[in-house]
């Protein structure tokens, strides 16, 4: 799933110029007395809102990796080969190649944040139900259609979630909230990876045999998380509406302006960042999608162990992201951090490809480097394009990331089917190496341009100070 969270996380505090609640609260003056839990201006109420906000995305993150968690069951029960299996991931990505540009626009101009969130949650829910129904009746095309509908909702829901967060927590606990939301997303993925195998076995016991019915049943159960998220969306809409009335605040906006003509003005460094993004993420997500059977076959892991080691990337990412984000913020030098992350990932993939070392080592390394890359790469965009182009740049970056994921997912499945895991791993190494080449080039291009990307945090602060004194 695309790393939308990280980007928002690191940019949240420079988005809009809305007044914060504090001002409005002062303007409102002492009014009716309300219990703290019901008063939208009180922390306790915001904590309640935060709860629903966090679980808003839980369903979509939980269900996104359903195919990976049930890889062997899906392949066996539906008689698929790996390439068609990976189509399930590709179909999730296809709608987002386009939707990344319009998600923000739809939320701001067409639906509004409340309606938009409900609509996207509905898409996620309906998509997952179609997906599960497809498994129940053993129609693979229906499952693909389900993933497509699910994809329409999934990524845009993340945008909506972040908009809500900005709306409620700006000027308060915003970074913490972003961190929590991201951790919840990772938690959703982790829980999914570790629990779905058990759910499947229970359903298989209940219906008497494994097979597409059991698969459909367990996917339907997974859909319950989406229904739960939908309920969260409804509750949030109610609470937001209520807060609007009480506090006279506006509906939240993503504030995103997409102008496709901006693309021609993108600097070369931004294109290099795009290449890094695609080259890197295509070696992570499709790999996790295919990981389970790999660990079983190559390292003789039991299915449970394999699912656990496959989810370690997400488990590590949950606590590591805030820590590494802090580290990168304090030190600067983003290009060097990205380079370290890319090299560490390359090392992890080489380990998995060419050794029989315990995969916990390689996967943990992958988890740390994946979190590091997310913290260092996404904020770089803000350094190379002017602020009014940020929306377009990020939309474009996510769009081509999704395009890359869709294409590489299918390719990876085809390679595995015909050439096996070694060649697949070598292919992923090649993708990472393309990212590495781009990092090296980015380093030099930025150096020659005298750019801001690789400055230390201290130098950046100094520069900022100088420019403000100049302005005065």
């Amino acid at each position: 799933m695309a790393d939308f969270g990280e980007r928002r996380n690191l940019l949240g505090d420079e988005d809009e110029d809305e007044d914060s609640f504090a001002d409005r609260q002062a303007a409102r003056g002492p009014g009716r007395l309300m219990a703290a839990i019901c008063d939208p201006s009180r922390l306790l109420h915001r904590v309640v809102v935060l709860f629903f906000m966090c679980f808003l995305g839980f369903g979509s993150y939980f269900c996104y990796d359903n195919p990976a968690a049930l890889q062997s069951q899906v392949i066996q029960d539906l008689n698929l080969n790996t390439e068609t299996f990976m189509q399930l991931y590709a179909w999730y990505s296809w709608p987002n190649v386009v939707l990344c540009f319009f998600g923000g626009f739809l939320l701001d101009r067409v639906f509004g944040i409340r309606m938009g969130t409900i609509i996207f949650s509905l898409f996620v829910c309906v998509g997952q139900v179609i997906f599960a129904a497809g498994a129940l009746v053993n129609r693979f095309w229906l499952m693909e259609a389900g993933r497509f509908v699910f994809g329409i909702g999934g990524e845009s829901l993340a945008v909506a979630q972040n908009t809500y967060a900005v709306n409620w927590f700006k000027g308060k606990e915003l970074n913490l909230v972003f961190g929590l939301q991201l951790s919840m997303a990772r938690l959703g993925s982790t829980v999914n990876m570790n629990i779905m195998g058990w759910v499947y076995n229970q359903v298989a016991l209940a219906v008497g045999s494994s097979g597409h019915t059991a698969l459909g049943g367990s996917l339907m159960i997974a859909a319950a998380t989406c229904v739960f998220s939908l309920i969260c969306a409804l509750v949030l809409a109610f609470l937001d509406k209520r807060a609007e009335k009480i506090l006279n605040k506006e509906q939240g906006k993503t504030g995103e302006v997409i102008k496709l003509t901006d693309v021609k003005d993108f600097p070369s460094t931004l294109w290099l960042i795009f290449i890094i993004c695609v080259g890197y993420y295509v070696a992570i997500f499709p790999f996790i999608g295919l990981g389970q059977i790999f660990f079983i076959e190559k390292f003789n892991f039991s299915p449970t162990q394999a699912r656990a080691v496959n989810s370690i990337v997400y488990i590590i990412s949950a606590p590591a992201s805030p820590v590494l984000g802090f580290l990168v913020d304090k030190t600067g030098r983003n290009v060097v951090w990205v380079m370290i992350a890319v090299i560490a990932t390359l090392a992890a993939h080489i380990m998995l490809a060419f050794t029989f070392w315990n995969p916990w080592i390689a996967m943990s390394l992958l988890g740390v480097s994946y979190s590091l890359l997310a913290c260092a790469l996404w904020p770089m965009v803000a350094f190379v394009v002017p602020e009014h182009q940020l929306g377009t740049a990020y939309g474009f970056m996510q769009s081509i990331q999704n395009l890359g994921l869709a294409v590489i997912s299918i390719t990876a499945g085809a390679i595995l089917d015909s050439r096996g895991y070694l060649v697949l791993e070598v292919f992923f190494c090649a993708c990472i190496c393309i990212a590495l080449m781009s990092v090296v080039m980015l380093y030099f291009v930025d150096y020659i341009k005298g750019g801001d990307l690789n400055r230390s945090a201290a130098a950046r602060a100094k520069l900022l100070k100088e420019s403000t004194t100049d302005a005065e």
Binding site: T82, F354, T355, Y421, M441
Partner: protein, 400 residues
């Protein structure tokens, strides 16, 4: 454990080789290019009956040695392999004695003194069991085994260096068990999975079961193999782990049933296979099914000699080891789903061939790891020059 460690060692070593910029060409050329001259012939019984009995003889002549592969299509299917140190050794058949099946001596390799090593593989029985609980543990729910010596075997059909023979079980019309023997004059590998690497010192036997009606609703099969040797029995099965599954996707192990002199690590002869069988004749990855084998155990020579004509004719006092290869693990689809099962093995003399990375993998790794390094170097040099020029232009600035 030791084998695993060894595999790991090989992995790390090869991994280093990748890093050290070794040119791929030299690795390809470094391959064994030893070639043998092969002649394939069917020796017909001059007295004719029983109908359809063919003795296949493949003579693989090297520079100063000869390998004789002999395959007979009556009785239990048997492949006999005789290695001689003379390039002019010959096979002699005394048909009366051969068909009599009472005493040895019906088949000899002349001169007797030139024989370095001989071994044979006998496919003696095919076991079937009904795996109701899907455990793939064959206990005692066995159906009566198919005695392969009782099958009615068709004539050997030759095409190039491969010979095919199929047989049907007595009292059945449907289905057959087929064996395909491929002899090789040089190193290479087959087009179809498991794509075992073979050398000029080995031949490949593929055995498949096609359309034989299962007797249970959850049938699984097990093949009983016997390895016969003159002096040194094939006493142990070694496992080698390999990181390279590019030729047999998702299979990272290779088993070799070897014969070695007491206490020596030199391997005289081997039977090698990967733990995988395929459930379709043109398989995709999902049609692969894992297999397991039991430990080799000594068998009674007399029984085997009675079932296999070649063993009786060639060996007077055979030493026999037997093991079972069972197809499918718990949770894997049953035989009933496709009614097809194929498994491949390699039989040869000397050490078993060892796989190496394909040029494709090596090229990709070298290019991928090399290019960023080169970029880094070039970039470094460029930036250095750029800085120097900038510094020198800056130096003149005060003059203007």
């Amino acid at each position: 454990m030791a084998a695993a460690a060894k595999g790991r060692g090989v992995g790390v070593r090869v991994f280093l080789v990748v890093f050290v910029f070794i040119s791929c060409q030299s690795l390809i050329d470094g391959r064994n290019t030893y070639k043998r001259k092969l002649t394939v012939q069917l020796i017909h019984n001059p007295t004719s009956p029983p109908f359809g009995s063919d003795l296949l003889h493949v003579r693989a002549e090297g520079v100063n040695d000869t390998l004789h592969y002999l395959f007979y299509n009556q009785g239990a299917p048997t492949l006999l392999l005789v290695h001689t140190d003379s390039s002019s050794s010959t096979v002699k058949v005394n048909w009366t004695q051969f068909l009599d099946r009472n005493t040895s001596g019906g088949l000899t390799v002349e001169p007797q003194s030139s024989i370095l090593y001989s071994s044979a593989v006998v496919f003696s029985r095919l076991w079937e069991y009904d795996d109701v609980n899907d455990t793939a543990e064959a206990s005692d729910d066995f159906f009566p085994p198919y005695e392969l010596q009782d099958f009615s075997w068709a004539n050997v059909s030759l095409s190039g260096l491969t010979a095919l023979v199929c047989g049907t079980a007595p009292n059945t019309m449907n289905g057959s068990l087929c064996l395909k023997l491929s002899a090789f004059d040089s190193e290479g590998r087959d087009e179809s999975w498991p794509r075992l690497l073979h050398s000029a010192n080995s031949s490949q036997l593929e055995v498949w079961l096609n359309g034989l009606l299962p007797r249970g609703n959850h049938s699984r099969f097990m093949l009983e193999l016997q390895a016969v040797s003159g002096a040194y029995p094939l006493s142990r099965v070694d496992v080698r782990q390999s990181i390279d599954d590019e030729y047999t996707p998702s299979i990272f192990k290779i088993f070799q049933w070897v014969s070695s002199m007491n206490g020596s690590s030199d391997v005289l002869g081997f039977v090698q296979w990967k733990p995988v069988a395929y459930r379709k004749s043109h398989p995709v990855l999902e049609d692969a099914t894992p297999c397991r084998h039991s430990d080799p155990r000594p068998q009674r020579g007399e029984e085997t000699a009675a079932s296999s004509v070649l063993i009786r004719a060639f060996y007077s006092d055979p030493e026999i080891m037997g093991l079972n290869v069972s197809f499918g693990l718990a949770g894997e689809p049953f035989y009933n789903s496709t009614m097809f099962l194929s498994w491949t093995m390699l039989v040869g003399v000397g050490s078993p061939p060892v796989d190496s990375f394909s040029p494709l993998v090596l090229t990709i790794m070298v290019v991928c790891l090399g290019t960023p390094l080169i970029l880094l170097l070039l970039g470094g040099v460029f930036v250095f020059l750029y800085k120097k020029r900038k510094a020198s232009t800056l130096g003149y600035e005060p003059v203007n």
